[in-house]
């Protein structure tokens, strides 16, 4: 039986907005609002949503890079705040890989120096042992040893991302946040990185939070899906049921919008059209966050925040929508999903 490795309970992240000479706090950005989900050990949760949905903030919060305003996070049975209090402990458990390895690798250091630095800072290896460990790390991510002498600028995008993964692996974490790690790569190369990450997960029992806006990639790597919009969770559940039978109109809109590489399907499938009205994080509306874009929104959606709930007592697959039981809403959502998956 798999147990949750990472557990978020009612987590909120808010940033103060300061103004004027005295930097007085005049408001708050509600980046993440009251979200809860868990990731089983050795599994991947795919976190999807558009820019501003709070998905990257959620990932950063798990690393202690964004302070929690409210809520609890458990990492392998320990409280995130206590892990953060012990210097150097959290990085041994959790690591993060970013979208742009060109920005996250030091351009003045060779790949070998970058990796050795991590080993030395954490007191894991020095001298010849560190050198051997660097070679092993490079081999683990499918790079040749001579890459250690090179600088990031002389590497391709895919190679750089492999180096960033090697750096995250150097301290043997149990959990890695992968924030848009393949989005900047050519399609032909994306698969190399995705396959590598899946191999590493299997051999090392790694737990992943895979953050992306690319639903096709996410459907490939994830065991469960969390869909965020305007800082809140709109829908979550096992991958297969979220994609085959979405409960939330926003999930359906995402499925409608994914470009499908088949002209016949792409030109004829039914879509759920939504207006593009990104919510204002500094002045959250009462009711559902998706109300302005939703084709099904009614009075209740404007006044009451819908709770996360399942259909017919389902507790695995849940969504925050007032109208998800209504037959014509169900019909429209199922039809779009079927069109996208055919």
């Amino acid at each position: 039986m798999t147990r949750p490795a990472i557990q978020l309970e009612n987590v909120s992240v808010r940033y103060p907005i300061r103004k004027g000479l005295l930097r007085r706090v005049v408001g708050e950005v509600h980046a993440v609002e009251d979200i809860s989900f868990s990731i089983n050990e050795g599994e991947t949760v795919g976190l999807v949503g558009e820019s501003g949905s709070g998905k990257s903030t959620t990932g950063r919060a798990l690393l202690g890079l964004s302070p929690l305003s409210a809520g609890e996070v458990q990492c392998f049975g320990r409280d995130l705040r206590s892990l953060l209090a012990e210097r150097g402990t959290l990085p041994r458990v959790s690591q993060i890989v970013f979208q742009d390895p060109y920005a996250s690798l030091n351009p003045r250091m060779t790949v070998g120096e970058t990796l050795r630095e991590v080993l030395e800072v954490h007191g894991l290896a020095t001298g010849a042992a560190a050198k051997a460990r660097v070679n092993q790390l490079l081999a683990d991510v499918g790079l040749r040893e001579d890459i250690a002498e090179r600088h990031p600028h002389s590497l391709s995008g895919g190679q750089r991302q492999r180096v960033a993964i090697a750096r995250a692996l150097a301290i043997e974490p149990r959990f890695i946040v992968l924030d848009e790690v393949v989005s900047a790569l050519d399609v032909s190369i994306q698969g190399q990185i995705v396959n590598l990450l899946q191999d590493l997960q299997r051999t090392r029992n790694l737990t992943y939070l895979f953050i992306t806006h690319d639903l096709s990639i996410v459907s490939h790597v994830s065991h469960s899906i969390v869909v965020m919009y305007g800082g809140q969770i709109m829908e979550k559940g096992p991958r297969r049921s979220v994609f085959a039978a979405p409960l939330h109109p926003y999930t359906s809109a995402l499925l409608s919008a994914v470009p499908i590489p088949d002209p016949k399907i792409e030109r004829t499938r039914p879509r759920l059209d939504v207006r593009s009205e990104p919510p204002d994080p500094t002045a959250p509306l009462p009711g559902c966050r998706f109300q302005r874009s939703c084709p099904f929104a009614t009075q209740i959606c404007r006044t009451e925040r819908p709770p996360l709930r399942g259909l017919g007592g389902d507790t695995d697959h849940v969504a925050a929508c007032h109208r998800m039981e209504e037959p014509h809403v169900r019909e429209a959502l199922t039809r779009t999903a079927r069109g996208a998956l055919s």
């Binding site: 470009p259 030109r267 879509r271």
Partner: protein, 349 residues
Amino acid sequence: MTMVEQTQILSPTGPVLELRGLGVGYGRGENVLQVVHDVSLSVARGEALGIVGESGCGKSQTMLAALRLLPRGGRVTSGQVFLEGRNLLELSEREMRKVRGGGIALISQDALTALNPAMTIGAQMAEPMVHYQGMTRAAATKRCTELLDLVGIPGAAARLRSYPHELSGGMRQRALIAMAISANPKVLIADEPTTALDVTTQSQILRLIDRLRKDLGMALILITHDLGVVAGVTDRVSVLYAGRVVETAETQTLFESPRHPYTKALLDSIARLGDESSERLRPIPGLPPDPNNPVPGCPFNPRCSHVVPLCRSVLPELEDRVKGGSHPVRCHVDPYVEPARRLASGAAR
């Protein structure tokens, strides 16, 4: 078959824009870095042509060369560019300025850098109308409002007074599209128009471009690395690899029976919705081509699963071996020719 015949076969109604044997290089003499080689493309009136390739394949360079907007150091090393029969490479800079906008318009990927941050949307939209088309301010403002309506920006009159940073990414891209179509171009070149956008906005922008092309009768050249984007809106597709066209076909044909091993591998490498997570993705092995270290023979040979010794020494021609088809391929082996032939003969579709 000569190149001229080939392009005529590919576009039955006659091309509005045609590139013949275009080459682009950087630097001079011994050290010239050739980034585009002998590219021939054409697009007919009202037609949508997709240009697909990975980063560095020369797809943007080709179009910048056609517009004579290559950055410093870059130059056209060979070929011609015809817009309605006029060779653009022979025009004066003054004449060329009239072509940009009224003849060919360009929408680039990053709307925030393409727009002037210090001017309102209205002011930068109206500027070319007043200066090039001789409109009065009032007439230009009226036209701007119409254009913003046309591209689906609500509250157009108020939006004209907005600065670019006050608009969302999708709205900025819409404003850029409005500017691009303001002089009724014959050809609209969209270079990765949706790459920087969220997926829901991306789909709306693509459908907007598609609708405008049909309503205004423009030809469209859509440059992208995303085959899914091409599948939705183009009539034909040219696939570029290492600065060369390796395959051109009707969109449906390209997806159903690709012939070049690179096209096939690219289609196979895409993650698809509904794939099982136990399935492995099938990426193309090796690295994308490096223009600094060109490979002898076919540029795809180090990554190709059908490679024969000839591929390592001789560059294949772009030619169509299926008689009567319109599907030129640059490959010695042409391993997938049979299904393509069947598709061509069963042309009842």
